[in-house]
Every structure is written in structure tokens, then in C-alpha cells.
Symmetry: D2
Subunit: 258 residues, 4 copies
């Protein structure tokens, strides 16, 4: 059993007729439904305006193995305190799957440390995602490539650190390319950025997209966690016998400056 | 000519007698003096309580090729706004050298995206830094290793992403090891973390430490910059001729959600 | 069930009294016995002088999920043809665990592409292996560090590419350090280099060493494989409709130069 | 002054009329001419059938800062001994630029350790190379992208290790994508793989291709070298005082097994 929380902004379908027509109950409900096709997944949804904590209570996150994140028009409305809470859980070992416009979310930028910039165009053009790593758990069941008939384009340069693994590269009808699937190991957590998902197209109903997300959840679940807290090692617990030499700031075993 | 700004917290020498006896005018002045041995370097200093901007004006940063950062007891007093300003300049191409306890500074954590945790002990023990990469620009002129007779220990696990290059590993008298020199490419900027530098020992007077810092400045200077701002690509400027298909959110050329 | 083949050189215990006294039936038998403690592992052994193929038939390798490799005095006697066979299987997805002096084996050098050089000293000194990555599958059940009371020293610089993951760093009594546990993704295969294992000490009887090897086998097993053969894509199978333009060397669908 | 050796197979233009019409004196002469536009470059050419050593004498390589490599139909005719010689020089610090079909050369496969497989099609289609890293030395002077009107297609998956830096990604008219510019640090040497260059098109006359090659040469030149030879550290030269404990194989200072 893998405990998944699907987080969605949940705003655009309330204000935009196009989005409402495709995702009347929000994108998160459709993403969740796709994941629930796997009987081993227990899926919870949460969204920005759900409550004071954007639906992401300490308790829910503590019980989440993998979190998926979709946001677009309201990145700035996500509270820093909740971002810090999610960040802490990723470093502890919670998997994180960041979707499409989530490239500019606070949580992704915080984990990457870079601009996460790209170029973009909304023309409903065709995208073809090529598999760069056919033996990777995330690409199992996917053919050499798959296509999305209508999508928003994202183009290079993508302002991220060198990825740990390159999973997909996209070809766009209008002539661009993009690193559409990238993995990052950060702390104990595994992070997967996956490009598809613009809200004016029915992309999260696509069978290939759903399969990639199911694979990615299995990959992102970490079996082990570890807490890092910058501990002092008292002198009498040094592996080799030593004694204090010279002057210092700290008493043995104190907390340090954090 | 390389324009360097040496930033120091500049507090501990005002409150602690041990620190004052070694660095009466602050550590930044000693670090700056070591760098000034290279006639090609133009060195400016700045410190936390210098002014409202911690001495780091937009103008100074715009003219800084490489910034060095030492802080310890007052990481929390550095304003988020100034951290964001430094971060932006690193992504634009300013080099950054983070020293010792700077592993827990806001700017280093922001660039790494991880906890930056480690273990530590202040016993004045011996450290030996081994060169992992003898052909790297940063290690030129350094023998197989160099020693620091009295230092604070930092031990593994070090909570950082996999480094782009491994430069030094430390051996400690008390039995620990640590990745003491690591490089990271982030945006257009080059980042070097260098471990030595506890404020109760005269480490920044050491000839090897000074040489590593001079080498690191030359390495970290970037000749090229590039601004990434998530630009829209209007449909009529797509490399391949396309027309708008289906529905969308954006007008051609608009700013997007940021 | 994981199918493991433990390969050993199997020579030194026949000519050297010290080695014979510790590993009378060869090191591979002891390594195999340690792995057999896991009921899910099916372990086969093979050695250099077993037959014309060093015990590594096509059939055995085809049925091997993970291969462990220990060699030292006879790297040069391993046939290039068998090295190529093992290499091919690693790229197809067989896991490979390279032990100690195997850093200079033909197969490890072939996979790394670098010198794999290091410094060394045989003084029977103490080694302490620190865990750099406490949440990694390979370090589960291992404390912050473990010690080997008597060992041969390996020191930096270690002539390998930047590792995909840093698992262990060693501290040596004589003052050196070494990257003792490194992972590499090559083709479909996972490669783990693990330093301990000099033949004049009973290192493969050590409980921590045995645990790391058991963990590493589970980590190195790949669930998916993929064959890469530089296929031609005939023009009429291009994802976008195109026709031949200009001159060329090849007929549609031909084999190319290999 | 940078000393460059341009190596070419030099065969196809002798047997194929199309190739002869574009590169009557071999591709290496055209590549060399492009590089000679930089007055700081001293360019030498060498080719497969030049002499017993394929034109690559010990002396020439010892005086080469950067070597460029183009081969296609005769990879198998390059002697292993010469490949080993080039490989040794790369690890010592000679830069290497591998061009187009050189992805399957012995030297590139030896440095990568992987299959270097890809998919391909020769239809004379258009290629557009996107810059992924606009602040990298190799991309200076190149716009967001550049196009090659007629080329052979190379597609993903490309069987190489994760690159140290991603420089270009190609978009092809027929629908594929490819990682067309990748950097690798191997030993002291810098390696750049650059995709363009099929012999039936005048690609090495292209201004953008010539500029990338000039930039790449400057980037690939290493200022520092270091020789790694797996040296023994005699016990009395250990950084910390130790004495021999227990049994061993080696005498102090001996050569080890190589």
C-alpha cells in the first residue's frame, strides 16, 4: 500500500469556462482517479483553499508516501509555512512529483535552488515525449514515445540543476524541445518533474500520462528515512580518543547555532 | 581584474574574547587581506551590521564577480530580501564561495535545496584535507594534502545534493571524515563550498587556505551571463509555422503566472 | 529470488600461506556463504581457472541478476572476450558489485572509462567506514559507521568519474581518506564499488561487510532491461511525415557502420 | 596558443562520389580550416591511413592540447594500441571533441563505458539545435538555436552515462529529439560530444558549427595535468605514525598488481 496525496490548486476551474468544462471538479480529482486504478494506492486529495493549511496538515503529510503537486495561477498564495512543511517531509523521505506549471511553484524552486525558468507558448500544438531511459521504472509500459495531441509548449533553456536522471525529452510541433522528465535525489526524498498537464486540455485523462504517474509514484516511494539535525558529537564520544585542545566557543554537547 | 566582495558576519569578535584576540577587526578583513595578495583582485568587504542591506547594495553586487560568505551565530539575522538579492546574482553568474559554518547560511541552503546538516565537535583537533582532484584549478599549488593543526570537526553525513565535482575530503584526528570541498553549478553561477574556518583558530592566516581561496575565486568567476525570465514565445515567432489550435488561457505574448 | 554469481580470482590462496589460512577454499566461497544467509538469494560461484570461460558461460550470465567481482593478482589473465561478455550483460541490466582490488579489474576500468588509480599501503591498519547516505538501501542496518580492525589502506585521489551516489567514505589510522562506496548507473545496469576486502585479513567474515553486500545485491538487481542496437528508423516510419531530401550513404533500413 | 590535432577517417571521400564532391580533401581538412580562423589556434591534421600510427604519434599527442575525432565507416580499423594511446592522453588532460558518427568510435566507447547506441535515419531532413545552457563557454555567440538544413537524424535513447553538462538538444523535422551536445569530465581531460557532421552534407562549412567547435576547443583545453599511477605509500611515509600490524602480501614500496 502506498499513501498518496494529490495536491491541486483548485482555482482555475472556478473562473475559467474552458478549464471548468474539462475538469469540473478540479484537476486533482482527475489525477487522483487515474492513480486509483492501481489497487495498491490509497489516494487522498487536497487543495489550496481547502483550509488554513491548504489541506496539508502535519498529520496528512506524515502519512503521505508520495505527494503530487499541480499549481499554476496561484503559486504566490501558497503560504511559506506550508512550503517549509512539505520541504521538510521531502528531505525526510516523502516522494514528490511536480507537474507541468508546478515548475514555478515555491516548493520546486526551493528544492532546486535555481530559477526554474523556461520558454512557453500556448497554441494547442502537438507534443511527442521520447523515452531517454527505457529501463527506468518510470518508463515501463511506455513505447519509444507517446504523443499529446494538444498542449502548451515548454522550451529550453530550462533553469534547473543537472538532473540525476534524464527520463523524457519532448519534441514540439512548433519546433522546440524540452527536458520533460527529470529525477532528483534531495535529502532522503526522490523528486520527479513531469511536464505534461496544461489545464485547458484533457491531458490527465491520457492513458500514457496516467501510466507514467503510476510508475512515478512507485519509484518515488522511499523505504527508508533518516533525520538530520546537525548533532554535536561530544568529545568523549569521538571514535578516536581525543582531548580538548585550544580555545572554543561551545560547551560539549550544546546545540550550535542554527 | 576580478572584483571580489568578502562578506562576514562581523559579530563574534565583538562579544567573544577568543575570537577578538585572533580576528580583532573581524574575519572578513583577514580573508580580504589574503585575497589581496593577488594583484589582479580588487577586494571589497561588507558585513551584517554595516547598514540596512548588510553592506550588500544592488550596486555592489552588480559589480561583484565573486562573493565569499562567512557567517555563524547570526544566520537568522540576515534579511530574506538580501538573501534573495544574492541568490539572483548567483543565478545570473556571480561566483559564490561559502565558508565553514556558512553551510547553515540562508543563501547556501537556498541554493542547495537540502538540509545542509552535518555532525560537529569543537575540540581543537587536527584536520588533514586530501586533494581528490589534483588537476582541478582550485587545487593548483596544493600538495597531496594539507593540514590544519587545530580546528572544529565537521562529520558525515553532509546533507547536500551530489556535488558536480569533489575537490577535498577531510580526515579528522577524532576519527571522522567530511566532504570539505565541493563545487556546484547553479544557473550561470559557480558555487564552491570550502570547510575550513572556525573563528576560534587562526585558519584564514594559513598559507594553504589562502591559496585555495585565491584559486577558487579565479575558478568561480564566470565570463558569461544570461537572464532567464520565462518568456512567452508568440505563435508567429515559433520556429516552425503553426496556428492556434483549441482553447487556451493566455493571449499571445502575455506574461504568464509567476 | 535473486540469482547471484560470486566471481573470485581463486589464485592467491593456492600460493600464499597467509591467504590460504584465512580463505582455504578461496574468497568467493566465503563471500557466497555470507550472501546465502538471505533465503531469497540463490548463489553460484565461479573463478578464473574454472574453465575456458573463467566459469562465466553465456548461460550463467544470462541467468545472473547480480554479479560480484573480486580479483587482484591476475587481472591481466582475464580474457578480453569474457570481459566484453560481462560488460554487455551489465549494460543489459545485470547488477555488478566490484570489490576492493577489483578497482583495477578490466571490467571496472571498462565501465568507468578512467584510470581507476588510487594510493595504497599494506600495514594492517584500522579503517572506519562512514555512512554518507543513511537513507540509501545499501546502508540499511548499518550504524553511523563501522570499523575494520586490520586492512590495506586505499587513499585519494581515486581516478573515477563523479559517482551517481556517495555511500561511504573511509577514515584510515595512517591518516588517509577514500571514497569507499560509490554507485554508478551504466546502461540498464547498476554498479556498486565497495572498498573493503584485502585477502590477508578475514574481512568477508565481518557482519557489517556481509550486511552491506546483501543490501547491495538487492539494490543492484534491475527489474527491467532494454536492448540497444543502434537501429535505423526507415523514412516511412518517421513519426512526422518526411521524404528523402538530398544525397545519402545508406539505403532505408540498412545496418549502418558498427 | 592552443595546439589542436584534427583527426579524420579520410576514407569515404575516396570511395563515395557524394562525399568526394563536398569534401574532396577529406572532412578533416575542412574542420581544420574552420578552426584556423582563430589566430590563437595551431592546427595539425592526421588521418587513419596516414601511417602505421594513423598519424597519431606519441610525440604529436604529447604536444596536442585538444584532439577532434571524426570517423564512421572504419571504426574497426583503428588499432587498439592507438586508441589506448589517445585514451591515456585524455586522462592526462588532453581535451577531446567527438563528432557525429564518432559516437561509435572505439575511443568514445572506451571513455563512456556504455553502448553509445542511438537511433538514426538518413533522409536529409532539417535539424534545429537548441541551447540548453546559454552561459556556457561552448554556446557563446550562438543564438537561442541554430539550424542545419539537411542532415542525418540521430534519436533517443542515447546510450551514454548522465552527462556532466547538457549543452544542446536537437529537434528533427521527422519528429525525433537528441542530446546533441554533452560534456564529460574524465580523469584530467574534458570531453565534448557534438552531434552535427554527416559526410554527405556540407555541415562543417556552417558558421554556427564552426563557432561551436572553436568555443569547444577553448573550453576543452586543460591548464593542469596530473599523473595517476597507483603509487604505494611506504609505511614510514604515512601522514600519521603507524607500524605494520598482522600479515601482508607486499613489501613496503613495491609496485602492486596492475
Amino acid at each position: 500500500m502506498i499513501n498518496i496525496t494529490v495536491w491541486g490548486e483548485g482555482r482555475h476551474e472556478k473562473t475559467n469556462e474552458v478549464v471548468k468544462s474539462i475538469y469540473p471538479d478540479g484537476m486533482h480529482t482527475v489525477i487522483a482517479k487515474g492513480l486509483e486504478e492501481d489497487a495498491d494506492f490509497k489516494v487522498t486529495t487536497a487543495f489550496l483553499d481547502q483550509d488554513d493549511e491548504h489541506g496539508l496538515s502535519e498529520e496528512l503529510l506524515a502519512n503521505t508516501d508520495v505527494l503530487t503537486w499541480w499549481g499554476h495561477c496561484a503559486h504566490g498564495d501558497v503560504k511559506d509555512e506550508i512550503v517549509a512543511r512539505v520541504h521538510k517531509r521531502v528531505l525526510e523521505g516523502m516522494g514528490l512529483i511536480v507537474l507541468h506549471s508546478g515548475h514555478y511553484s515555491k516548493i520546486f524552486k526551493k528544492l532546486m535552488g535555481t530559477s526554474c525558468s523556461l520558454t512557453w507558448r500556448e497554441a494547442g500544438e502537438k507534443e511527442r515525449l521520447w523515452v531517454c531511459n527505457p529501463a527506468h521504472p518510470i518508463t515501463q509500459g511506455i513505447d519509444k514515445y507517446f504523443e499529446i495531441p494538444h498542449t502548451e509548449m515548454y522550451g529550453e533553456p530550462f533553469g534547473v540543476p543537472a538532473a540525476d536522471e534524464q527520463i523524457f525529452i519532448s519534441w514540439f510541433e512548433g519546433g522546440e524541445v524540452f527536458r520533460s522528465g527529470l529525477t532528483y535525489y534531495r535529502g532522503n526524498g526522490k523528486v520527479f518533474y513531469f511536464r505534461p498537464g496544461h489545464e485547458t486540455y484533457p491531458i490527465y485523462f491520457d492513458e500514457n500520462v496516467k501510466l507514467v504517474l503510476k510508475n512515478a509514484v512507485k519509484w518515488a516511494k522511499s523505504d527508508y528515512t533518516w533525520n538530520d539535525a546537525c548533532p554535536n558529537v561530544p568529545i568523549d564520544q569521538a571514535p578516536e580518543p581525543i582531548t580538548r585542545q585550544g580555545e572554543g566557543l561551545h560547551l560539549d554537547g550544546d546545540d550550535g547555532f542554527k
